[in-house]
């Protein structure tokens, strides 16, 4: 398989930021009351991840190893500021719901860990695909959780009625987010156990 395609696939499933690496869990619980919110934040994360990966990959030889963490934080903060100005213009209604978390992208562990582990060592093109893959994997996780919570919590999907039975209110309450993620992680572990015969240890959760 072409290496770039492999990097994309790697971020989407084998090293999925939410279910496998268990990084940046806060937004995964917080904004996933509907698919729309999850998609919005996912797109913002793709943007920030891709652009900061590319920036760091381009300037990696100029960044002194000792001050690399502050340098990465500044780069991320720069792109977060940019997306924070763009999003309210594109979709003001959805932005209002996820505004706090768009600003908080700057402290998402997934982004800085990709810069540290990948973009600081690899050239521009692989870094681009790695960033894109991780961003897509993150969006995929948010959309899956959002879809489950919106479907059971309100009986709708993308705001369209799917079934008219009484909604399961707990799903859109704060507690529901924790439950859904806990059970999804268990499910993913179980699938992996069935496929490979061993139980994976989950990530460090930060």
């Amino acid at each position: 398989m072409n290496r770039n395609v492999q990097l994309l696939w790697n971020g989407l499933i084998p090293e999925n930021p939410i279910f496998r690496l268990a990084l940046s869990m806060c937004p995964a619980v917080a904004v996933t009351t509907s698919v729309e919110n999850g998609l919005m934040l996912g797109l913002a994360v793709i943007f920030v991840q891709v652009f900061s990966s590319c920036t760091v990959a381009m300037f990696r030889s100029y960044i002194h190893p000792r001050i690399r963490i502050p340098a990465y934080v500044i780069v991320i903060a720069l792109w977060v500021t940019v997306i924070d100005m763009i999003l309210p213009v594109i979709s003001p209604d959805v932005y209002k719901k996820v505004a706090l978390f768009v600003k908080l992208i700057v402290v998402f562990a997934i982004i800085i860990s990709r810069l540290e582990l990948f973009a600081s060592k690899e050239p521009l093109v692989p870094s681009f695909f790695d960033g894109l893959g991780m961003g897509l994997g993150f969006t995929f996780g948010l959309v899956v959780i959002g879809a489950i919570r919106e479907l059971f919590g309100t009986g709708k999907l993308f705001g369209i009625d799917v079934f008219d039975s009484g909604p399961l209110l707990i799903m859109i309450l704060p507690a529901g987010g924790f439950f859904v993620i806990g059970f999804l992680m268990g499910l993913f572990n179980w699938i992996e156990y069935k496929l490979t015969g061993k139980i994976p240890t989950s990530g460090g959760a930060h």
Binding site: L173, G182, G186
Partner: protein, 318 residues
């Protein structure tokens, strides 16, 4: 393993906050009223007023201080037996976090005309701050209802000792960085109209305080320092600490409000950490299904806590 020194520092900080609270309320010379319930205001006069005048709702003009054109209709007025204080009742609940003005027109006292009196009605500073602290601590607990700081929450909640130490460290960093971020935002960013730089400036401030905490803790309590290990540095990349200044700016809080928000958030986070650590110490001894071991079961436990914290949502003190 809490060192007395860290505790002492925390106590001094709380004492400073308490002192500053008592100092705030003395400077009000104008006539004031107070909220009774969310649809009642009571005001008091210096001399007994005439009953016929006092019970007529048309004699009072009530409006929010920010828009004087919108009059709020008074439903009924009751006078106390000594006729020196009146209670105004309204049909709709008032917004108790904003300031109201009550104008009493042509006040009649024993047949004499006293002219117009203005009363300003707002919650006292102590009430406002207490509400903010309780709100950030219990009602909108940062972990269980705002889902912030989950990384550290799941990472450090395995042992009670570390949980307590981490909670105190967090509270200190949050209060200090809330004060500094407020000062920077008000006097530098707003003054130079550079508000869009808030994210970069705030994260820099937080990073400085974490570094300071790191240096201090290394000297004051090497044991705790070793135990916290990598998580101390991780405070920088933690949403809960950056969220406090951002929320403060969004809600337009002043210095003391910002401090209370930081304090409430920190204490709330410490409570959450401690509760979770207690459960997880017990969980070690339980037979959890293999696929749920580790993080998945921790998430389910956190969900149960979040359910319990929903009970606080109806809580209102003032």
């Amino acid at each position: 393993m809490i060192t007395t020194r860290i505790l002492r520092f925390a106590i001094v900080l709380v004492a400073m906050l308490a002192l500053s609270l008592t100092g705030v309320n003395f400077s009000e010379a104008a006539l004031t009223g107070s909220f009774n319930k969310d649809n009642e205001i009571s005001i008091s006069f210096s001399a007994p007023v005439d009953e016929a005048w006092g019970k007529n709702p048309a004699n009072y003009n009530v409006f929010q201080k920010t828009d004087p054109d919108i009059r709020i209709p008074v439903a009924s007025v009751t006078l106390d037996p000594r006729r020196t204080s009146a209670t105004l009742k309204f049909q709709d609940p008032l917004n108790m976090s904003s300031e109201y003005t009550v104008e009493a027109k042509d006040v009649m006292s024993d047949g004499k005309l006293l002219g117009k009196l203005d009363f300003s009605v707002k919650k006292s500073q102590a009430q406002v701050l207490f509400t903010i602290i309780i709100g950030a601590m219990l009602i909108n607990n940062f972990v269980f209802t705002k889902y912030l700081g989950l990384c550290i929450f799941f990472g450090v909640s395995q042992k009670k000792d570390t949980a307590i130490g981490m909670g105190i460290t967090f509270t200190l960093v949050m209060v200090l960085s809330a004060i500094f971020c407020w000062a920077l935002y008000t006097y530098v960013l707003t003054a130079l109209q550079l508000q869009f730089l808030q994210i970069i400036v705030f994260i820099g401030t937080v990073a400085i305080f974490v570094q300071a905490m790191d240096t201090m803790l290394r000297k004051v309590n090497p044991f705790l320092f070793k135990k916290l290990g990598v998580y101390l540095v991780l405070i920088v990349t933690n949403c809960i600490i950056l969220a406090v200044p951002l929320i403060n700016v969004d809600s337009g809080y002043g210095l003391f409000e910002s401090m209370s928000e930081g304090l409430g958030a920190g204490v709330g986070f410490a409570i959450a950490l401690f509760l979770m650590a207690c459960v997880r110490e017990k969980l070690e001894l339980c037979r959890v299904p293999a696929v749920f071991r580790g993080l998945p079961i921790a998430f389910v436990v956190a969900g149960l806590f979040a359910l319990a914290f929903l009970g606080f949502s109806g809580l209102s003190i003032f």
